[in-house]
Amino acid sequence: MSGDAPERQALVNLDAFRHNVRVLSSLARPAETMLAVKADAYGHGMVELAFAALEAGASSLAVLDIPAALALRAAGVTAPIFAWMHAPDADFGAAAGADIDLGISAEWQIEAIAAARASVAPRVHLKIDTGLHRNGASAEQWPGLVRAAMAADDAGSVRLFAAWSHLADASPADDAVALAELHTAVEVAERLGARFELVHLAASSAGIRMPEARLGLVRFGIAAYGVTPFDDESALELGLRPVMTLAAPVVAVKRVAAGHGVSYGFDYRAPTSTTLALVPLGYADGIPRAANGRGQVWIGGRRYPIAGRIAMDQFVVDVGDAAVTVGDEVVVFGEGREAGGPRAVDGSAVVPGSAASIPTAEEWAGWAKTIGDEIVSRVGPRVRRVYVADAAQAEGETWVIDDPEAMHAFGVQFARRLGAGDVLVLTGELGAGKTTFTRGLGEGLGVRGSVTSPTFVLARTHPNAATGVPLVHVDAYRLDGAAQLDDLDIDFAGSIVVVEWGAGLVDLIVDDYLELVIDRPRGDTAPGEGDEGGDDGAAGDGEGAADGAAGDGEDAADGAAGDGEGAADSAAGDGEGEDIDAPVEPRTVTLYRRTARRTSGGTGHE
């Protein structure tokens, strides 16, 4: 980098991405989340996004082919990696050696794996074509493929693991037919003696709108990048944040008279005397020329039209009489530099699509007659990917919490910040310390009954005799969606509500809330280890089970009644020294003040 070239930047906000992964993975739960990072993570950068996805709740990754999977392994990813498009001369031996899960569509691929004679038998996911007519065995080929895989499994060259397919998203009826065909294929295989540990079908669209297609695992892709898979609902409406912001500075401005032509062919002529701003991004950088005459960009708080044709390296913006100067940042699409997007003077989020809002990749897709996937994945190589996080704002405070005692004490202290009507979402993986925090919070608030994980009661109300403001502790882990959260009839206005696993749900019910994100400091553990490692695996498995046991005991001991569903406990809790949700290593805790960005009152998902 010479420092002399135009500053073309794709800001990739990893906090926004992690938010989306959390939202989607909580929506899919109990289905696992596989995050697609193919095509260099849709143009965002494969390695960085892969680690962020695993931090935020994805348990596996999907790439297109074996070389990409090997690149992820080389970067240190230890989580399962799935690759399914294979060249005729694909290196299956290397894939097996790197423990790559392989999608298999044809018998020749089974044979090629056997021929590679790897020392490890790779897990294979057999693909059935359920109507898309791309990859995948046809119904006629399926029994042969299953038999070949079973024989190879017996011979020790593969491990038969999963059956899967991919939807056409043509219509709900077509997708229902495809799901039925997948079930039929699984039955056919089982009659042949095959056993699958996993069946998967849904990508982003079905993962969000077709719960019956989630099965054991959802392969989320585009939605995690903050781009909608739908044409009738935006990512913002889905509670997702744009991850990529494409920006460059104005490199020249000039005042021209009415009638002045602009760019090739003079398709545009200034209607009045006006100011033209030159932006050093062109179609070589991914600004689609098909958006000529329609594209808009955002400069200093408002949108302006692109004037004239988009060229290879640059385009011109007609900024009218605005005081735009060289160096002003031009945002083509995305969230911008402010977490949650630009805000109006009163602090509220600007209305999506309005003149004050930054265009989305989805809007650019409309202008260029394509889909947002193509807009983000084709941002060009001269654009530098810059990885950013939400800026530390006034409310973006961060704490480092060393151990369970400190987490408890932090909860006690934090109680002073909360009052009736406050909603606090706790976000962090299993074992992050959410329940320990809440126990401290309960103590600080002086509520009755000791706080434990409410996993099996969904919500537990702890009355507060002193203030009359109860603490309502919700575990959204097993909620099916916002509607079910709504059904709990929580008195949000009169309570302090703490919601574990609430990202992506709460913002559909309330307008403003606080979110505490509990993370391991980066670099503290090998990335990916969190989902696989002994400690956390045990903790993860244990939370449900151990809490179940604890919960049973507590329910029996419950004396004082709360809401009758999850009574406030009077006993237990204190004695359980071993809380499996206790943080066993330092955590970073960050507080965000969130504003829901709904455009309508609907819950949206189903």
């Binding site: 109507g131 098909a290 193509e374 994945s377």
Partner: protein, 376 residues
């Protein structure tokens, strides 16, 4: 099949040399040819194309920005290089260190170049600058109202021995011949005014490929050869062959799966294509992440084994389907999206039309997963 990558951009450097030589012959000895290799040589590979162009008679190299210029220098290219699109914080130290001519559009940029020149060893001499004037395109280049100030400051810095103004240039809109001639006359005016201010730029240039071919009076001392060097036509109504040019890029994928389906089978997302009869579908491992534009869905051509078919259904991120009807197609077969029509391949212009754009955008935006292989 072996050795053939899944995604291949085959670049014929012989075609590049042919095209450069043809244009060089057209413009004659008095006009130099600048090979424009910005945006990674319009997707063809900047370094390889630059070397081929130089071997065929190009004496200048042109790029958009200084990063691109430095890459050419680091690859060992020693010809003069002009770069004209700069960042707002550009100091030009790197440009000067690498002996890159800086295209300058404002007094502020002149001052920045002067600053870099003064920071370096005096023995390095004056910084080479080419002044860019806007003669109507409304993009870069000093607006007419700024000419006097730019020329005056340039003359002042030149007489102080800090910079040397070696060139003066502008860029055409190609709106029509009349507009282009008006721009030429404004450039003549700018040259006169620069001389009046005490400057004497040796290299005056205006024409890119289109004007080079169509308006001989715009050729001046140098022409900037971009799209034509890659063998593609800048005109709607003239083909490469009409212009005596040979397309340098052939874009290939491979069939990665073949299946026989019944009549009325839906294909790809949204089932926007349905087979008319029982048919064979070939899956090709190329998608829009590779630069195959999604707007080409159901419209663009694909050549397989000597037959030209049509993309069937939506182009996805990594793959598309071709209905080959009863064609005999097998896994591993080459699929040519476009190449030289003289060899029987579809023209890139067919892809451009299908994607509602121009040939420039198709070749420039091929994706990073393509392997480029060079032949002579």
């Amino acid at each position: 099949m072996s050795g053939q990558p899944l995604r291949l951009a085959a670049i014929d450097l012989g075609a590049v040399r042919h095209n450069v030589a043809a244009v060089k012959a057209l413009v004659g000895d008095d006009t130099q040819v600048m090979a424009v290799v910005k945006a990674n040589g319009y997707g063809h590979g900047a370094v390889e194309v630059a070397r081929a162009a130089v071997s065929a008679g190009a004496t200048w190299l042109g790029v958009a920005d200084i990063d691109e210029a430095v890459r050419l220098r680091e690859a060992g290219l020693t010809e003069p290089i002009l770069a004209w699109l700069h960042g707002t914080e550009a100091t030009f130290d790197v440009a000067l260190r690498h002996g890159i001519d800086v295209g300058v559009s404002s007094v502020a940029q002149l001052d920045a170049v002067a600053g870099a020149a003064q920071r370096r060893d005096a023995a390095a001499g004056a910084a080479r600058v080419q002044l860019k004037v806007d003669t109507g395109l409304g993009r870069n280049g000093a607006a007419e109202g700024q000419w006097a100030a730019v020329f005056a400051r340039a003359a002042q810095l030149q007489s102080a021995g800090v910079i040397e103004v070696v060139g003066l240039f502008s860029h055409l809109s190609n709106a029509n011949d009349d507009e282009d001639r008006q721009q030429l006359s404004r450039l003549d005016d700018a040259v006169a005014r620069a001389r009046g201010a005490g400057l004497d730029p040796a290299i005056i240039h205006l024409a890119a490929t289109a004007a080079t071919l169509r308006l001989p009076e715009t050729r001046l001392s140098l022409v900037r050869l971009g799209i034509g060097m890659y063998g593609l036509s800048p005109f709607d109504d003239r083909t490469s062959a009409d212009l005596g040019l040979r397309p340098a890029m052939r874009l290939e994928g491979r069939v990665i799966a073949v299946k026989r389906v019944e009549a009325d089978s839906g294909v790809s997302y949204g089932y926007t294509y349905r087979t008319a009869a029982a048919s064979t579908l070939a899956l090709v491992g190329l998608g829009y992440a590779d630069g195959v534009p999604r707007l080409g869905s159901n419209r663009a051509p694909a050549w397989i084994d000597g037959q030209v078919y049509r993309v069937s259904g939506r182009i996805a991120m990594d793959q598309f389907v071709v209905d080959v009807h009863d064609g005999d197609v097998a896994v591993g077969d080459r699929v040519v999206l476009f190449g030289d029509p003289a060899d029987g391949y579809p023209a890139v212009e067919q892809w451009a039309e299908a994607a509602e754009t121009i040939n420039y955008e198709i070749v420039t935006r091929i994706g990073p997963r393509f392997e480029r292989r060079y032949t002579s």
